[in-house]
């Protein structure tokens, strides 16, 4: 008799051999330089249930460039495991040909040239076309939004997330979970959540005072589809009050709460769920660990760490699906659920090539409507770039180098600190930098650019603290961001060491002199989680700096040396 695990492994093998997951075909198509919407959407409908997953859109309504990371280090058990494989190594692992469009969509390397040939990706009007096509195959497909949807753009900031709610409503999701949404403040979150025509889920969203499940966010919801009862359990970002300002949503407490996750899985199984899906904003490594501890979850739709994987990862009997960010991808997962068991799956990570996939006209006009009142401000050209501007990667990206330069010169500081967030689209050399582009990499509700003094000793503590949030070997102690970006400050980091011993050789890059633990340094930064932080908004600081430069050039940054790999 074949066990369920064997079935799942067989599904995985079949998808790898036959290219059902999509990437096998991409390479062939790329060789022919023939890319059509039909080919991108090609999928032999399978089983009796379809899930559609989008996550971490970060308010990107329009197509963008987004360079995937070239540095994404895994530690502990995740050393060398996906998603901690990048560039050419990633392509070898999945059999992706160099310069193919899956190379461009999924991995770093030759980004600028490939961006010119394959064009921008994403756009919610294109995402809608894909969702509609899947629904044409399977009318009762379940669309799930993994969160980080109501954050990350000029229009989202100025409408307090209303633009995203309006457009997403047009796509008709069935459920959603959360992270940056909470930085709109708890009152606004409550107002928007109460307006949603779909479920707002989070088994780990608790009332901070009583440590009881928060009423506004049910832990799970049920769907009857394809003759089966499906439970979708939500898992919001566990570390919101730590990674983001707690004072903006003091009523809520989060955490991984895997014991409560197990209780919820058991509860929905008791109520007859034949398929249990977790819509998660844990981050990929946390999801892997959770899948190894909690039993009974069939599918985890994983968000937060912005990883795009062409195949699910199997942990025990749970498949974990990672669907990228910024609207670049839509995952389709077809499942064969029989007699209360998931027996097999077929999966495809669909890349949203904006020049290939037709926009859905209804959603395109809905998007235009949201942007119309702000069009003049959005489109104003502030400068041009001669360099590729990107953010993603464990250490400095060029966008952050530019932001740090802006902080150093505009705030007259010796050292600049910029948060290691993973959102923010890229720009390619020769492009105009518009106000919208600046907001895409800086927009947030706590964007004040502070100027303060820190001792050398405290700077080390900051770097050690953030490094441990990324390189702690236990994923449950990671927060899923990248390393804090530094301007004017160089250092060496040994990722294999424990907290307190990772950072060494801190230097002031302007003079090359070692950082003195006892001396005070003038530090400018932004996105402080402390209440009452004062200073100009970071987008104004960056805009002023770019306007003065006219054309920006970001030189290579070798200020961080990484060891212990």
């Amino acid at each position: 008799m074949i066990s369920r695990r064997d079935f799942l492994q067989a599904s995985m093998a079949a998808s790898a051999m036959l290219g059902a997951s999509g990437f096998g075909q991409w390479s062939r198509l790329a060789a022919q330089q023939a890319l059509t919407q039909d080919q991108l959407l090609q999928f032999d409908t399978f089983g009796n249930v379809s899930l559609i997953h989008v996550t971490d859109i970060h308010a990107q309504l329009k197509p963008i460039f987004f360079r995937e990371p070239s540095v994404n280090i895994g530690v502990g058990d995740n050393r060398g495991a996906v998603p901690h494989v990048t560039g050419a190594e990633f392509r070898r692992l999945y059999g992706i040909e160099d310069n193919s469009y899956s190379h461009y969509a999924l991995s770093s390397g030759d980004f600028e040239a490939l961006a010119r040939s394959y064009g921008k990706m994403g756009g919610l009007d294109r995402v809608s076309t894909v969702v509609n096509a899947i629904r044409a195959d399977r009318p009762d497909a379940i669309l799930l939004d993994g969160g980080d949807t109501w954050h990350g753009s000029y229009t989202c900031y100025h409408t307090q997330g209303q633009d995203m709610v309006n457009v997403m409503n047009g796509l008709k999701p069935d459920a959603m979970t959360f992270h940056w949404e909470f930085t709109l403040g708890s009152d606004r979150v409550a107002e928007l959540v109460e307006s949603l025509p779909y479920a707002a889920l989070g088994q780990n969203i608790f009332d901070a005072e009583w440590d009881e499940p928060a009423e506004l966010f049910p832990p799970y919801t049920f769907f009857e589809r394809g003759g089966t009862k499906i439970a979708v359990i939500g898992q919001a970002f566990p570390y919101m009050p730590i990674a983001n300002p707690r004072w903006m949503f003091p009523e809520y407490s989060f955490g991984i709460r895997d014991e409560n996750m197990q209780a919820m899985v058991d509860e929905v199984r008791q109520q007859g769920a034949e398929l249990v899906v977790c819509l998660s904003h844990n981050g990929f490594d946390v999801d892997k660990k959770m899948a190894s501890i909690v039993t009974g979850i069939d599918v985890i739709l994983s968000g937060h760490t912005h990883d795009a994987l062409p195949e699910p990862v199997l942990v025990g009997e749970t498949i974990i699906v990672a669907s990228g960010s910024n609207g670049k991808f839509v995952s389709r997962v077809d499942l064969d659920v029989r007699n209360g068991q998931m027996l097999g799956f077929r999966h495809k990570l669909i890349p949203i090539f904006s020049d290939v996939i037709e926009p859905d006209p209804a959603i395109a006009s809905l998007i235009d409507e949201q942007r119309a009142p702000f069009e003049a401000q959005l489109s104003e050209v502030i400068g041009q770039t001669d360099s590729l501007l990107y953010r993603r990667g464990n250490f400095n990206g060029t966008w952050d180098d530019l932001i740090c330069d802006a902080l150093l010169s505009e705030r007259d500081a010796e050292i600049a600190l910029s948060p290691g967030v993973r959102w923010g689209p890229s720009l390619i050399p020769g492009q105009d930098i518009t106000r919208e582009d600046i907001w895409n990499v800086t927009s947030m509700t706590y964007g004040q650019a502070y100027r303060t003094e820190m001792t050398g000793e405290f700077l080390k503590i900051v770097l050690e603290d953030v490094a441990d949030n990324i390189f702690n070997p236990d994923p449950y102690y990671q927060q899923g961001g990248d390393m804090v970006r530094t301007g004017g400050l160089g250092y060496r980091v040994d990722v294999s060491k424990p907290q307190g011993e990772r950072i060494s050789e801190m230097v002031l890059t302007s003079t090359g002199e070692a950082i003195d633990p006892a001396r005070n340094y003038v530090v400018a930064g932004w996105a402080s989680v402390n209440e009452g932080t004062e200073g100009p908004q970071i987008w104004d600081v960056v805009e002023s700096h770019i306007a003065k430069q006219g054309t920006v050039t970001v030189s290579q940054n070798d200020s961080v040396t990484v060891t212990g790999l």
Partner: protein, 138 residues
């Protein structure tokens, strides 16, 4: 240079954070444990300690201990200046041998719970709770 009040506060905050490196348990911990167990061996079954992996607020960290049938559960914060947090004693009429409270943690450290079980044996468990500066989440 002149400091604004806000900048002075920020520096104050900076100074306070210097204790945020992981704090190692002191030797005194062993003596608290020995006092509670009388030096008996400790198993690891029959006792559960629930605590967040990363504290949302180090000044008030919710924890829960549970040991069915136990007569007492001791909780220690191994890295605090005063490690003993509480010892919960359960009488014969206690409906459940479970207690939850909130504790203050001086920094990243291990929380240790030891239960005296119904059969007189002892069980020990611990969990690392990280106290962090925060910021920088994906």
């Amino acid at each position: 240079m002149e400091f604004t009040r806000r900048e002075t506060l920020a520096i104050g905050g900076a100074a306070a954070l210097t204790v945020m490196m992981p704090i190692k348990a002191s030797a005194a911990i062993d003596s608290y444990i020995e006092e509670f167990t009388g030096g008996a061996d400790m198993g690891d079954a029959g006792l559960e300690l629930t605590a967040p992996e990363i504290a949302e607020n180090g000044n008030t960290v919710p924890i829960e201990v549970s040991a069915p049938g136990a007569s007492a559960i001791m909780v220690l914060a191994a890295g605090n200046p005063t490690p003993p947090v509480a010892t919960f004693n359960f009488g014969p009429l206690a409906a459940a041998q479970r207690a939850s409270t909130r504790i203050r943690l001086a920094g990243t450290q291990d929380i240790i719970a030891i239960a005296k079980l119904a059969d007189g044996s002892f069980a020990r468990t611990s969990k690392t709770v990280k106290v962090t500066i925060g910021g920088c989440g994906g």
